[in-house]
């Protein structure tokens, strides 16, 4: 990056390259952006101007819509390369919305099923998601094949670099993989805490499973845990659609992490965290304090991790 530019000129450059990188082929974004960054510097050096920011905006205007620039890097396949960035954007949004609704409906139906079998549920859900995904892919692809690049000319032509929002900066980018992992972790945590995956935690005592349930004081925190996990799922869903940090999103992320940590610390503060359904006179009863200590350690580790994540997001939000 050319450091001789004013901060605002650099900010426009970062936003533009961030916007282009969103639509470049995966795995090539950094390399292509480095080359485009270099090309912008060359163009700026060839034009002498006193106003860095205006000069930068003029250069970006010459380069045109980020989607159009990124389109050239795609190989033409089913769809014309000029249309591929917007096609992929639409496909991603429609797939995510539709498949999220399908998953949510399936999860809600789980509550009504009397004889729930996890493996059967997972296989059915995978089949429905794959089938619906293929149908949506076919419909969107056919629509975009019919559309052609001429339909997008107006969309590209009316673009101005001043429309680039601050959050598009490359250093604000959120990796899609991270969003998906966090979304799945929150979903798994929600299912686990509410006993939808296994009915209570299990410990083994001489090959005999012993069910363990949270004590009532800890169980009273469950609605709050559920709320935090649901909000975390929502935030990650939004991040999948808008994979860039904004100050509001960072504050929300920090708040959720810190409240989650407080809840974990509250749960860990009880002298007994779980009740073991042990038969009278069981040998396993001697190990009970160690089991409590083990569960408490797990809760404390998660709490520390959440505090670190929360402080990191808070510091980033204040810097933005």
């Amino acid at each position: 990056m050319n450091n001789s530019q004013s901060p605002s000129a650099d900010s426009w450059r970062e936003r533009y390259l961030g916007a282009v990188s969103r639509f470049l082929p995966a795995g090539e974004q950094d390399d292509i952006c480095a080359e485009l960054d270099d090309m912008i510097s060359d163009k700026l050096e060839s034009q002498q101007s006193d106003d860095d920011e205006q000069q930068m905006l003029a250069v970006l205007d010459q380069l045109g819509h980020p989607m159009r620039l990124a389109a050239g890097y795609h190989q033409q396949a089913l769809i014309e390369s000029e249309v591929i960035p917007i096609y992929r954007l639409v496909l991603k949004y429609v797939l995510l919305i539709s498949l999220s609704i399908v998953t949510l409906v399936s999860l809600l139906n789980v509550g009504r099923t009397e004889d729930f079998a996890l493996i059967q549920f997972v296989l059915q859900l995978a089949w429905v998601l794959a089938f619906d995904g293929l149908v949506i892919f076919a419909i969107i692809t056919l629509i975009f094949q019919a559309l052609g690049k001429q339909q997008l000319e107006g969309f590209y032509k009316n673009w101005k670099p001043q429309q680039l929002p601050e959050f598009l900066r490359r250093d604000n980018k959120i990796a899609l993989g991270d969003c998906i992992v966090e979304l799945l972790s929150s979903t798994f945590g929600l299912l686990l805490l509410n006993g939808w995956i296994i009915p209570g935690l299990l410990f083994f005592n001489n090959e005999k499973a012993v069910a363990a349930h949270a004590v009532p004081e800890v169980l009273a925190l469950l609605p709050w845990f559920n709320l935090i996990l649901l909000l975390s799922m929502l935030l990650n869903l939004i991040n999948i659609f808008q994979p860039f940090w904004t100050r509001t999103k960072l504050f929300a992320d920090a708040t959720l992490s810190l409240i989650g940590a407080v809840l974990l610390l509250l749960a860990a503060s009880h002298s007994r965290i779980i009740d073991l359904a042990l038969p009278v006179g069981s040998d396993f009863i001697e190990l009970e304090p160690y089991v409590q200590m083990f569960v408490r350690s797990i809760l404390l580790i998660f709490a520390v991790v959440l505090i670190v994540f929360g402080i990191r997001s808070l510091a980033r939000a204040l810097k933005l």
Partner: protein
């Protein structure tokens, strides 16, 4: 014929010859995207960045060009330099022959109108 038709056909004609022009420009000496574009413009072939830079990548993917990041002059910035491979040189020679043959056909048609 409308101006729009002329522009569209001119654009397609120039785009068709762009691969040959790029290969010819990179036969002798390695160049980075911006300097190559300046050379093409100076020679009379206007090409925008959104066409040239992706084309360089495509030609590299087809093993017609090779590239490397290295420090350039005069600013000393790291730049991606492209140069023809042997395969690119062979293709450029073939396409040049094709171009000459096509030129003769067009001259012949023009002379017999």
């Amino acid at each position: 014929m409308t101006q729009q038709q002329l522009n569209k056909n001119r654009h397609e004609l120039r785009r068709g010859s762009l691969v040959l022009a790029v290969l010819m420009a990179l036969r002798e000496q390695a160049q980075y995207g911006y300097s190559l574009r300046q050379q093409l413009i100076k020679a009379g072939l206007e090409v925008d960045e959104g066409t040239l830079y992706p084309l360089l990548r495509r030609l590299e993917n087809q093993a017609l060009l090779r590239s490397e990041w290295r420090l350039g002059e005069p600013q000393g910035r790291r730049r991606r330099y492209y140069q023809c491979t042997d395969r690119g040189l062979a293709l450029s020679a073939e396409l040049w022959q094709e171009w000459r043959a096509l030129e003769q056909v067009l001259h012949h048609l023009e002379a017999n109108k």
